[in-house]
Amino acid sequence: MVKDKNIEIQNLSQTKDNKKILDNVNLSIPINKVVCLVGPSGCGKTSLLRAIAGLDNFNSGRIFFDNKIISKPHYSVPTENRNIGLVFQESNLFPHLNVFKNVSFGSKKKKYKDIQKETFEILKKIGLPHYANVYPHQLSGGQKQLVAIARSLLTKPKLILMDEPFANLDERLKNKIRDITLHLLQKTFTTTLIITHDPKDAMFMGDFIAVMNKGKILQFDTPTNIYNKPNSSFVASFFGETLSIKSKVNNKKAKTIFGPINVINSKPGKEIEIVFRSEAFNITKKKSKNLIKKIKSRIIAVRYISENSYLHLDILNNSFKKHIHIKVPGKFIPPKNKICYINIGKKNFFVF
């Protein structure tokens, strides 16, 4: 799928204290693209990033930059010679240096004039040219993060690694900084690997998304495919709230409380898991006699959030008592404790 390989990671495994941190990871980061590595905390994202940066060792596997091997067990090009950028959750600007000195820290230019020119160019790109003489503690969280990104970009790295770069920012600021960062990366044609635990960040930033769990990469694809064609229940549930039902295949159909569901590709008798997104449900007032059953539920709470209505429902079925959330487009605010019926549409559920 990916032809212009910039960074190629092959069969990377890492064990620490008899615990597998990275389990046979394979990943290609295409040139000039932004890849988001997303997964729950403790899944090995940061370990992978540190291995790529050459800050940690690993047990087996190889890492290539431009088809040249740079890391394998017992051989590692030192971090300082890899020409990569690294941006952390806390910006980690050098607190004793001002913005100008921070940004120009990695400059390889000799003449002060060249350094100055180079630094101000990048400061203009992040919109902070007037902050050259300001010290890090005088900057806001978002500005610090931009300066940290500028500091890495100045050395024109082959690859920029970002470890949860937006995690410390509040929602509104995060959207702004995320936007500036994305366009900056696109303008400077920088290959980037962003680590995040927030699927929204990943969908927003990534040309490609890699989903990781328990040291393994589960799926690597475009954001659209990740959302619409998840390859496992974990990936499906990571990118939105889901309800999962276990069932058995019988005559190409699976029984659920919502009625039988067509499953074409599964063998008879196989245990399957059906995952419903919260958009999969429809809500009606009346019972119906269709094959797809309507299930009696009680409305516990309703909240109207940005053009969508979120309904908290208790399913009133003796064999299936669950609390679920349903997303309904538009303003729909039924009274509390009202009894309603839900069924499922044809989209937004996945069979594994």
Binding site: A53, L55, E80, L86, F88, E90, N92, F94, S152
Partner: protein, 556 residues
């Protein structure tokens, strides 16, 4: 303690570099006195040991245990209570009282001992004045300060600041939110202290108490002057009096064992390192207001230890030194001052340099063996100066004798001793003993700098040396200065190791004080004492300023 895994871990890092070898070397250097002591005792076991063991060592032990026990109680009382009041209540002159509480650090116990010894002497001006001028006090019997209780008193008033500093830092570190939570749960201020703050700070507080204990165990001047035999005087007597260095080494080992038991007990039973004292809320604490009477009480209460520990001895020194001004400008005093300051500066810079190397190498390659080095190298402060001195003296005397014999037999030359009695050996002892002070400071400031900073710099293409000099050293410049001053002050005051190791005809100010005092030339002794105290006071003022600054910038 050493297991094979350490070495496996060490060699597994293929890229281990010169940093580790240098820190290995430094650690060996620093643990050398203890190693040599242990070897010496194993090789030349002295059977006279039993005799000493039977009679004297139990006396030493009894006295030392008594001192430790009562001193701990009083030091905790003064140190913790004043720290709690200073960090909790707002009262006038709070800042200056805070500084006053630190000042007894500038008075070495032996100088306080001389001052109080004089004041409590029947024939002193002070007592004559009281007898003659205050009629109802003319028959009073002052208590005999030259006794075990007297020694405990001296150690309490001069050493409580160790507990004060540490508990004050601990109390201000504990988030003020706990205080607020306690109040919303309906607890009185005193109850909050006993239920929340004291248990949370118990480990650092006992750390401070142990520091004060180590200081008093190290002390030679006070116990000698007051004629109370402890381990330190025992070691000194055996070495100087009996001339038996092996026996001295054996007593030292026994003593070391005793100290390690204390350290072990603290770690074992009181460690709560896993508890995080900080919450994420604001750092500033709100001081509680207090009424007029309470304010007066608070100021007076906090001034008591400061007065006993600093002002009384200091005023004593001032008054007496006026009578001996000619000594102030004497050649001896000038030379000794110069010697002391030069020696202290040289050693403190060396110590900072070494601890930077050890800590930085542990940072860039945090292998188990490196961390182990770090631990070992910081044992020095636990070991009294006299023991370090013996530990150094034993092997160097051996080497010297070897050299002398070689030269005599082969070249028919009579040479002097080469190492023992040289300034090198003295510096060595200082470095071993005071290394811990800068080690802990610099370790914690390295610890405060996120490792991501190093990683960021490495990703920008910078090598480890460059990172040390351009990032770490500028970042921790204040901590470095702080350690420099702390070590400097300690060396100014050092007596017990200097007494054993000083070169012939080489005196420090502390030695000059000791010699005058042992000749009962008290007035003369006040001049070098005053120089030590004034230099230390200047240092302490600097320290408290730096500490305030570090507190404000959130680095501490």
């Amino acid at each position: 303690m050493i297991n094979l895994n350490l070495f496996k871990d060490f060699f597994a890092h293929k890229s281990f570099n010169s940093w580790i070898f240098i820190s290995l070397f430094i650690t060996f250097f620093l643990s050398f006195p203890i190693i040599s002591l242990i070897f010496n005792v194993l090789l030349n076991y002295n059977s006279e040991w039993n005799a000493v063991l039977n009679i004297e060592i139990w006396d030493y032990l009894f006295n030392s245990v008594c001192i430790i026990f009562f001193q701990s109680i009083f030091v905790i009382f003064f140190g913790v209570s004043s720290a709690w009041l200073i960090t909790t209540y707002d009262f006038p002159f709070r800042k200056i009282v805070d500084l006053f509480l630190l000042l007894p650090l500038s008075i070495p116990p032996y100088i306080a001992a001389i001052a109080y010894g004089e004041l409590f002497d029947y024939s002193s001006y002070f007592q004559i004045f009281i007898r003659e001028n205050i009629p109802f006090l003319n028959n009073i019997d002052f208590f005999n300060i030259r006794s075990l209780p007297g020694v405990i008193f001296i150690f309490t008033v001069t050493l409580y600041p160790y507990v004060y500093i540490i508990s004050r830092a601990a109390f201000s570190e504990i988030s003020y939110t706990y205080n607020e939570i306690g109040k919303t749960l309906g607890l009185k201020q005193l109850k909050i202290f006993f239920k929340v703050f004291l248990p949370l700070a118990i480990f650092p507080i006992t750390g401070g108490v142990i520091l004060s204990i180590l200081e008093s165990l190290n002390d030679f001047g006070t116990v000698q002057y007051y004629g109370v035999d402890t381990f330190t005087t025992g070691i000194y007597k055996t070495w100087i009096g009996l001339g038996d260095i092996n026996l001295a080494a054996q007593i030292s080992i026994f003593f070391l064992f005793f100290i390690f038991i204390i350290l072990f007990l603290q770690k074992r039973f009181l460690s709560n390192e896993k508890i995080n004292l900080k919450t994420n809320s604001k750092k500033e604490t709100n001081l509680l207001p207090s009424g007029k009477l309470k304010k007066i009480f608070l100021v007076t209460f906090c001034l008591i230890p400061a007065t006993l520990g600093f002002f009384i001895p200091f005023i004593f020194l001032l008054f007496n030194s006026i009578q001996a001004l000619e000594i102030f400008v004497s050649k001896d005093t000038l030379i000794n001052t110069f010697n002391t300051v030069l020696l202290a500066s040289f050693v403190s810079f060396t110590i900072i340099f070494l601890s930077l190397i050890i800590n930085y190498s542990a940072r860039i390659k945090p292998t188990k063996i490196n961390l182990f080095f770090n631990k070992i190298s910081s044992l020095g402060y636990a070991i009294p100066g006299s023991i370090i001195a013996i530990g150094i003296l034993v092997p160097f005397t051996f080497i010297d004798n070897l050299f002398i014999n070689i030269f005599k037999n082969n070249f028919n030359l009579d040479i002097n001793t080469f190492f023992s009695g040289s300034i090198f050996v003295l510096c060595f002892a200082y470095i071993v003993r005071f290394f811990t002070i800068s080690q802990t400071n610099i370790e914690s400031s390295f610890y405060r700098t996120s490792k991501n900073i190093d990683d960021a710099a490495r990703c920008l293409g910078k090598k480890s040396n460059f990172i040390l000099f351009n990032i770490h050293i500028p970042l921790m410049s204040l901590s470095i200065l702080l350690s420099l001053i702390l070590v400097f002050i300690e060396i100014l005051k050092e007596l017990s190791a200097t007494l054993i190791l000083r070169p012939f005809n080489f005196n420090t100010l502390a030695i000059q004080v000791y010699e005058y005092a042992s000749e009962e030339k008290i007035v003369e002794s006040t001049i070098p004492s005053l120089i030590i105290v004034v230099l230390c006071v200047i240092g302490i003022i600097f320290i408290s300023r730096i500490n305030d600054h570090l507190l404000k910038s959130g680095k501490r």
